[in-house]
């Protein structure tokens, strides 16, 4: 590296002298008190990332076992022709719950769980910016997961396959199975979006000072991309689930051709989620390999920027693949061609990162180790799955292989190679960070070889089974199709794989009481998470370091000592509060000191009450569901009121090394502003999925919108538009009046905004109401009603936010300077206004031009 002439180094060096031992002891005591993990039954109120991450990961592993057992039951059923071990009915439930649980209860949440656990440490942060949100996400996930998994024990599980195509899941299934799926997973998807908010803000704003974007650990890049993908991938599914649930519960015919609906819309919305989701699973898993490979080759990753290219490029292109799950639905050839082209293009970035790993391995000296063994296994399996993926991306081949066991073989190679093996590699690599003790090298190797062999014995023959014509999701097959031996081999392989996984699980969960603690940084890695002491302390990092390198533990002299002796930032917790440093997104310049909340049962109570809405809704107990929702609202308001946007006791504090930082920030510098922005982006993409539905129906029907249009007309929507525009303007005035400390103007403009917004919402609903559109008769009125109601609901939430802001200022919890609440509510209204404008343009304007 040749540094430039005129390079501007803004480096801050650690303290030249360590603080005297007595001061260090005092600092450590205060930090330990601030970050103390609650004990006894209060342990479950912990919100620290190390606790929540551990519960989260453990829960996902238990769901993995549960879904794995279902797979074994299916393999027993398929071991021989005409078998009756499982009934067709139970088999249908088994494959649906297996697929759904593996995807929604293992593969996605495990990435969030691992990231919650380790991302703060990789970023040298004390914790992620919203610890209680992480805890809420975990509890929501656990409740939703138990609800869905438990249903199979009551013979009530969904039976439509993990992608839940209507009409199989609408007209043909009257039980509550599909409702459990739709509502249970919507709840879990909300948890995933919460996690995405946490990860994006954490990666961009909670890096240690000096960790510029070109020095970020690759794991953080991958997590950033995967989290951003969640914002655009999950909302279409939430929108689709909303449509399907409304059709099932209230008979609005979105997918029912008798009412002008179209089941293909579900497939579009589902796969708009479903395909990116594969990469949402894959990227964070391969990210683990990107951390492991440099450690064991002892050199920095080769092609850092290329790996970043791979992560971002895959993130984008994976959104152009969804129709390759729908090649056989009769779309025009040109559409299929476009999606086939994108499906081939995504192989480029996917391959690039694998070549970077191989180049790093070739350039360095590889140390033999269990994590590398799993990483190699993962690459081999994933590449094979990728190759069959390129095959099924080609339309004519897919026509042959569609819905056969070939596809089952293909995606198990992709997911087990692309997710499960990397996660096992990560488990062996990171385990010392969890309780200070390593896993057994011997058991790791035994488990690997059994699982690797079993996996290939189970899934390689499936390609052939499929090419010979065996469709997926049939509970049995006749004797004379030449499938008997292949199926038996797959079943034997599945049990061998299960044996390997059992060994690995034994190693993970076996008691380790007598085992000595692992040495610190046992693998001699270069990244920040390995600063952890063995066993770890609850504070994340003793003092928040200044970063000069991609591998600070390798490159920065005396780094561990300087961190340990508190020679960097925030070595103390003078006020005994939990704190971390918020930095700027590009160069990680310190911006302010963020106070983090401590242990609390509120996230758990919020998850239980929110979950109540979904659980009662499943059983069509709408009164109880609404009561639960109101309770959830009260809990969330209490949470916000007591735990967020707290006015600090002093404007700024000294964080060490001569740096003084503010203790509060609002607007674009605040982590909460970004959290609101990201949440609203997710809501906006759900909304755009509904708009997509409107135009989808337009392309599918001659008479959508009907001519002459029966409603909602132009008058009411335009009136709504004018009122909402005025409400939005009042919101801006309120924000500015608050900044000018003009309380009277602030209250008056918010009161006006409430009246205007309520009027706007009512006018929007008045359109379809007064033109007597009946949503149960046809998909057109149903779509108009849905769009109007969506906006009505968001405006209703916006009105609650207005009331909250009035109360906050009145109670002295918000001032002219400390104005996070109204700043964030204004941002919320920007999005509301945008959605309302689009809605009005579509429902009032489009019938005129169509």
């Amino acid at each position: 590296m040749i540094p430039d002439a005129g390079t501007t180094r803004t480096d801050v060096e650690p303290l030249a002298q360590a603080p005297p031992p007595a001061i260090q002891r005092g600092q450590v005591e205060r930090l330990l008190r601030a970050w103390k993990t609650p004990t006894g039954w209060r342990y479950w109120s912990a919100v620290n990332n190390s606790e929540v991450g551990l519960w989260y990961t453990t829960a996902t592993f238990i769901f993995l076992l549960f879904a794995g057992v279902l797979a074994l039951l299916m393999r027993v059923q398929l071991a021989a022709p005409n078998n009756d071990f499982l009934s067709a009915e139970l088999y249908n439930q088994a494959f649906t719950v297996h697929g759904s649980a593996m995807m929604f209860l293992f593969a996605i949440p495990v990435f969030e769980a691992i990231a919650v656990m380790f991302l703060p440490q990789m970023l040298g942060a004390r914790d992620l910016p919203f610890p209680r949100l992480s805890a809420f996400g975990f509890w929501a996930f656990l409740i939703g997961g138990i609800f869905l998994s438990g249903s199979i024990f009551f013979d009530a599980a969904p039976r439509g396959g993990w992608f839940m195509y209507p009409p199989l899941t609408s007209t043909y299934q009257s039980g509550i199975g599909p409702d459990i799926w739709l509502l249970g997973f919507s709840f879990i998807e909300i948890a995933a979006i919460a996690a995405a908010v946490e990860m994006i803000v954490g990666t961009l704003q909670c890096r240690p000072p000096g960790m510029r974007v070109n020095l970020m650990p690759l794991y953080a890049w991958y997590i950033l991309v995967a989290s951003a993908m969640i914002l655009f991938a999950f909302p279409p599914l939430i929108a689709g689930s909303l449509l399907l649930e409304v059709e099932r519960a209230f008979h609005w015919p979105f997918f029912d051709p008798n009412g002008g609906g179209d089941p293909l819309l579900w497939q579009h919305l589902f796969w708009l989620f479903g395909h990116p989701e594969v990469y949402i699973i894959f990227l964070p898993s391969v990210a683990l390999i990107a951390m492991i490979v440099p450690t064991f080759t002892r050199i920095p990753i080769v092609g850092y920027t290329w790996v970043v290219l791979a992560a971002i490029g895959t993130g984008f292109i994976s959104f152009g693949l969804w129709v390759h799950h729908m090649y056989t639905t009769g779309l025009p050839g040109v559409s299929l061609g476009l999606f086939s082209a994108a499906s081939e293009a995504v192989a480029i970035p996917t391959g690039v990162q694998i070549f970077c790993f191989l180049a790093t391995i070739a350039a360095g000296r590889v140390t033999r180790s269990v994590p590398m063994l799993y990483a190699f296994g993962a690459l081999v399996i994933f590449v094979l799955g990728g190759l069959t993926g390129v095959m099924v991306a080609i339309v004519p081949f897919d026509f042959q292989a569609h819905d056969t066991f070939f596809v089952v073989g293909h995606f198990h190679y992709v997911l087990i190679g692309g997710a499960l093996f990397p996660i096992f590699a990560g488990a062996y690599y990171f385990f010392p960070l969890i309780n200070g003790k390593g896993l057994s090298e011997r058991l790791g190797r035994i488990g690997f070889w059994i699982a690797f062999a079993g996996f290939n014995i189970a899934f390689l023959p499936m390609h052939l089974t499929g090419l010979r014509g065996m469709p997926r999701r049939v509970f049995t097959y006749p004797d004379d199709l030449g499938l008997n031996a292949l199926n038996l081999i797959s079943t034997i392989g599945a049990f061998i794989l299960a044996g390997g996984i059992a060994v690995i699980f034994w190693d993970l969960f076996r008691p380790k009481g007598r085992q000595p603690y692992s040495p610190r940084n046992p693998w001699k890695a270069g990244t920040l998470e390995w600063l952890a002491e063995m066993p770890g302390k609850p504070w994340g990092v003793r003092s928040i370091p200044e970063i000069d390198s991609r591998y600070p533990l390798w490159d920065q002299p005396n780094f561990e000592r300087d961190v340990d002796e508190g020679r960097f930032y925030l070595p103390d917790a003078e006020e005994e509060q939990r704190e971390t440093i918020v930095t700027s997104p590009l160069d990680a310049r310190p911006e302010y000191c963020l106070r983090l909340p401590g242990p609390s049962f509120i996230p758990l109570v919020a998850a239980v009450t929110t979950g109540g809405f979904f659980v009662f809704g499943t059983f069509y107990q709408w009164t109880l569901a609404v009561i639960s929702l109101v309770l959830a609202l009260c809990v969330i308001v209490y949470w916000l009121w007591t735990g967020t946007a707290i006015v600090p006791e002093k404007p700024e504090k000294n964080v060490g090394l001569g740096l003084t930082l503010p203790l509060y920030a609002s607007g674009i510098r605040s982590v909460s502003w970004w959290a609101m922005c990201i949440t609203m982006l997710a809501l906006f993409s759900a909304f755009m999925s509904l708009i997509f539905g409107y135009f989808f129906f337009w392309t599918r029907h001659e008479d959508f919108p009907p001519d002459p249009s029966p409603g909602p007309g132009q008058f009411w929507p335009l009136l709504a538009g004018a009122l909402l525009l005025a409400a939005w303007g009042s919101t801006l005035v309120a924000r500015n009046r608050n900044r000018a400390d003009a309380a009277g103007g602030y209250y008056a403009s918010l009161a006006a905004a409430i009246v205007l917004a309520a009027g706007g919402a009512l006018a929007l609903l008045a359109g379809p109401y007064f033109t007597q559109l009946d949503p149960t008769t046809h998909v057109y009125p149903a779509t108009v009603w849905l769009l109007a109601s969506w906006n009505g609901l968001l405006i209703g939430v916006g009105i609650i936010m207005y009331l909250y802001c009035i109360a906050r200022r009145a109670a002295g919890r918000m001032t002219a300077t400390y104005d996070i609440d109204i700043a964030n509510v204004t941002l919320y209204w920007h999005f509301c206004m945008l959605m309302a404008a689009i809605t009005i343009g579509v429902i009032a304007g489009f019938p005129l031009v169509a």
């Binding site: 501007t8 180094r9 510029r212 290219l309 971002i312 082209a341 700027s584 930082l661």
Partner: protein, 130 residues
């Protein structure tokens, strides 16, 4: 010293969004091509109709998209080559961070260009809505 006394080279630099320009151009090109074909075949031409209008439209989209990607990519390349420092752009300076961002922008532009060309190949071979 307080937070504001840090040099704010960052404030004048393009943000991380610059990385996403070319992939967003790819996405817009992709959606426009797909949308044009879908609407044309569903509303105007019918299942066996000619695709000529769509082919011309996609050609125009492609030219515009490649121009936009080309501009972004050349900006990225110039940023990557500025100064004397070479890869891997892992120096702890705003200059190297800019070079890294430039190089990543260039790579993403190259990938986006390939993906746009892949998509543009489709209407070369498909002549009808079938």
């Amino acid at each position: 010293m307080n937070a504001n006394s840090f040099s704010s080279a960052e404030a004048r630099d393009p943000t991380l969004w610059v990385l996403t320009i070319s992939p967003i151009v790819w996405a817009v090109h992709f959606l426009l091509s797909y949308g044009t074909a879908a609407v044309w075949c569903a509303k105007y031409a019918g299942p066996a109709g000619s695709l000529w209008t769509v082919r011309v439209a996609i050609l125009v989209y492609t030219a515009v998209a490649l121009a936009a990607i080309g501009l972004t990519g050349s900006y990225g390349y110039a940023a990557h080559r500025r100064g004397a420092a070479g890869l891997p752009h892992d120096d702890d300076t705003p200059e190297d961070r800019r070079r890294f961002m430039g190089f990543a922008t260039f790579l993403l532009s190259s990938l986006s260009a390939v993906a746009v060309i892949y998509a543009a190949l489709v209407p070369l071979f498909v002549e009808t809505c079938q």
